[in-house]
Amino acid sequence: MKYLDEYRDGAIARALAGEIACVATHPWVLMEICGGQTHTIMRYGIDELLPRKIELVHGPGCPVCVTPLETIDKAIALALRQDVILVSYGDMLRVPGSNSDLLRAKASGADVRVAYSPTEALKVARANPERQVVFLAIGFETTAPANAMAAWEARREGLKNFSMLVSHVLVPPAIRALLATPQNRIQGFIGPGHVCTVAGYKEYEDLSREFRIPMVVGGFEPVDLLESILMLVRQLEAGKACVENQYVRSVTYAGNLPAQRILKEVFEVGNQKWRGLGEIAGSGLHFREEYARFDANRVFDLELIAAEEPAECISALVLQGLRKPTDCPAFGIGCTPEAPLGAPMVSAEGACAAYYHYRRHKECS
């Protein structure tokens, strides 16, 4: 398949790994931001190909993982109302809230529907004018434009029974928060290729300059990731710190301007809570006043219940790249994809699930 096979080619991948081994003279700690990249690294065993000097730590770029517990609890509470149809992306259904998850809510009678895009939620709203349709709109800069478009369309049509429970997060403020912590070990970033496809990478240049840290905007296939690592190691070995773009087949400097326009039209930047990381200033997208009537938080009287994570779950440290999933005492014992304690064990893009699904045999052998 074009644009896939050449980026999964074993010979090219091994050649790149060989080159990394030649170039690296010092130990380096690199973080891939995106959960999709973590998934590829684990699925293809990219860490196995790398010299021991290169350590990969996994970033917080899994939208399912960082959606606050309160948002999940609110979604479950909304879904359980008789007058509500809750529409969600598939992998939100198993994410544990404080006491339940959406799959269990569905089994006990809640009307929960899975959609591939927010426009499907609009269709559900048009087809069910007597009921309230709430779309659980989560994600990074990648999914936000489509969600903004759904709100824009709903406003244009004058839909009265459609709203969104929004938990949108932005990558650059999270990188800033990670780099600003005293425990930070990260020396180079593989930047989020799909986020930058939408947002461009100007903001990453500011971060790279400010913290003197190399960044390479990377793709999601094995060859993309190995090439990104090679570019980072070259910079580090040469004492450079700039932003380079490995994912040129998708990312441009300025990004997708129409997508950015619709984002600005519907949302404004505000503070946002991340599951595992806490509140980060300016890291979220919230409805502008003109779109307030599509904000489920305002449409419904949702009481905020203070929720707590299970004590033994170390997902906060995993999401910051400070610990590996296998460092967790509950990993694979008290916490599995069937009975997850933390969100990183749920989504295919969560670091814990990626380790569990693809690499647990390395622990046994």
Binding site: L4, L93, L103, T336, E338, E349, H361
Partner: protein, 351 residues
């Protein structure tokens, strides 16, 4: 099977802390296994049931009989490459065939929702008849129940089948040995993607058809080619991964696959990439795997390739003596990863 090993299987494992039945309990993955071990085996357990095979094989006097039952719940009822009627025949025929049986007779039970069009029912039953004729089986008894409108989803069908197992045929996962070869009869994922595409209204450049097919002829040809077939499984819900994980667990062996050897059609690969699904977990209705002694592999492979439903057959991996109970896969990069059993249904991912 010894009493102790049955007791082990019947351990009342907690149902993943769920107090109610979730859709995932019917997915053929880990949750299905949980409900089997946590609910059905403790109550109904006996040595035959505890084998947990798709069919039970029981001797009555000198005759070995295979018995299998399956219920069919599918939306849409008519899809590219088949319908619920042909599927209900193929599903049970295949469950018998992979047990080494020659399928003979079927029963068919229809659970129909009030208001269901008689014309659609006629089409489904005509399709069952065609499928049964082609597979060489006869529907000899049946049952019809109608439920009130809103208490069903159009039409559900259950079929039960019996077949005869030749006295010299004994297929069982427990016979798998390190060094054995794993054969697959063709490309995977077509049924699941065809259904999903039609259900979700997804349009692809070329239409993907379900692979729904009767595999009894293929199984007979394979068994004729060699007596060293250890076991066979048809790949349905849960896909290739579930079938292999079940064998690895039952036989206490490791299974190591080569990713590049597993045939997947370009259209299916493309659809899976788009939807964030892994073809290893996508449903099939006309595919099987066979575990075969290394010396017999070439003969069985040749017999498969000479058959209509095995033209694309391939050796996809081996049984190993390391990592018992686990399925691993060699990636095109030369690294190794686990092929895990899914907890429940595969969920499409966000981005």
């Amino acid at each position: 099977m010894s009493l102790q090993s049955i007791a082990d299987l019947a351990c009342p494992a907690p149902l993943g802390a769920s107090e109610t039945v979730l859709l995932g309990h019917g997915s053929g993955g880990k949750l299905s296994a949980d409900v089997m071990r946590g609910v059905f085996l403790p109550a109904l357990g006996n040595p035959l049931l505890a084998c947990l095979n798709d069919q039970a094989i029981v001797s009555i006097g000198e005759v070995k009989i295979a018995l299998s039952t399956d219920s069919f719940v599918i939306h849409p009822l008519f899809f590219r490459g088949g319908d619920i009627g042909s599927l209900a025949v193929h599903g049970t025929v295949n469950d018998l065939a992979v047990g080494g049986a020659q399928p003979l007779f079927l029963s068919a039970a229809f659970l129909i929702e009030e208001g269901f069009p008689i014309d659609s029912l006629r089409r489904v039953v005509a399709s069952m008849r065609r499928a049964a004729d082609i597979a060489g089986v006869t529907v000899i008894t049946g049952d019809t129940k109608v439920v009130e409108r809103g208490k069903g989803d159009g039409l559900f069908i259950n079929t039960t089948g019996i077949g005869l197992v030749p006295s010299d045929v004994e297929l069982s996962a427990h016979r798998a040995r390190p060094g054995d070869v794993i054969l697959l009869n063709g490309s995977i994922g077509e049924h699941g993607i065809a259904i999903l595409a039609q259900r979700e209204g997804l349009e692809f450049e070329s239409e993907i058809e379900s692979d729904s097919a009767p595999l009894n002829g293929l199984c007979a040809a394979m068994l004729e080619a060699s007596t060293d077939i250890r076991c066979m499984r048809d790949l349905t819900r849960g896909g290739l991964s579930s079938a292999l994980n079940e064998i690895a667990t039952q036989a206490h062996v490791g299974i190591d696959l080569r990713e590049s050897a597993i045939p997947v059609r370009e259209e299916v690969r493309g659809a899976c990439e788009m939807l964030g699904l892994d073809p290893l977990y996508v449903a099939n209705e006309g595919k099987l795997i066979a575990i075969v002694a290394p010396d017999a592999a070439e003969d069985v492979l040749r017999a498969m390739r000479n058959h209509l439903y095995g033209a694309q057959a391939a050796i996809i991996g081996r049984v190993t003596d390391s990592l018992a109970g686990m399925v691993t896969m060699r990636t095109p990069l030369g690294t190794s990863r686990i092929v895990d059993m899914l907890a429940g249904d595969q969920l499409p991912r966000i981005c």
